[in-house]
Amino acid sequence: MPNKQRLVELRIPSVFGYEKVAMATVTAVATRLGITGERISDLRTAVAEACINAIEYGNGSVADVPVVITMSTDGRHLLVDVRDRGLGETKPRMGKMVDIQNPPTGPHANMGLFLIHALVDEVDIVCRASGTHVHMAMRLPEMALH
């Protein structure tokens, strides 16, 4: 596996709305690496959903417990890791498509994980007592690899 180069580490408070800081940062990093258009929109949404889950479920919305977002590259992918401290639920459940006759209940209805899996190229979720790590990878465009 190629060496991983860490590019940016971001800490946001566990307060809804701060996921937009992560979205803005990942947009800047992805653009630098040659990712464009709809692929950036997909990554932004996936990162936002991972942060929202970390804020609410992982850190129990305790404002001064940070969500840590790390962006790095292995030369072929932009890798984004979102980590929480595991204060809340540590076994995320996978959501599904919406059945309008049985609409989702609860604030997020687990749809966030469904979207994350659908929008990025690779997802790996590691649940430990110390917290949940969501690893997301987005392939870099061919031209950016040369």
């Binding site: 709305g17 800081v21 949404t45 609409p103 989702p104 979207l115």
Partner: protein
């Protein structure tokens, strides 16, 4: 941080438009429910939820919208979602919600979008 949400109720000749401006997250529930109830109290039948003024929507916001569409359907009304940008159009397709969306650029006018009304269950 979040873009403040505003929902304007615009009764038109045959349809009531709920025009949304700002972020749609789970915090949108109260504002959207109030706008919906205002529209219903004013006699609204067919509704369009216009999201052209929304740049950011979370899965929690999509859940709120889904509940609103379900509430309209359960009362014998039809609510269509319009104004989604291409990214959220894709998200709604992924979530199985495409049939609840209406594209103003599609052939015909909005009347076709409300053709399949069901009686309240």
């Amino acid at each position: 941080m979040a873009q403040e949400l505003r929902v304007t109720v615009q009764p038109q000749a045959a349809v009531t438009i709920l025009e949304v401006r700002g972020d749609v997250t789970m915090d949108a529930e109260g504002e959207l429910a109030t706008a919906y109830e205002t529209a219903i109290a004013a006699g609204a039948q067919d509704l369009i939820l216009s999201l052209a003024g929304t740049e950011y929507m979370s899965s929690g916001g999509i859940a709120v919208i889904t509940n609103l569409v379900h509430a309209a359907q359960a009362s014998g009304r039809i609510m269509k979602i319009s104004g989604l940008n291409p990214h959220y159009q894709k998200i709604f397709r992924m979530m199985g919600l495409a049939q609840y969306c209406w594209d103003p650029a599609a052939p015909g006018d909005y009347r076709g979008a409300f053709a399949n009304r069901k009686e309240p269950s």
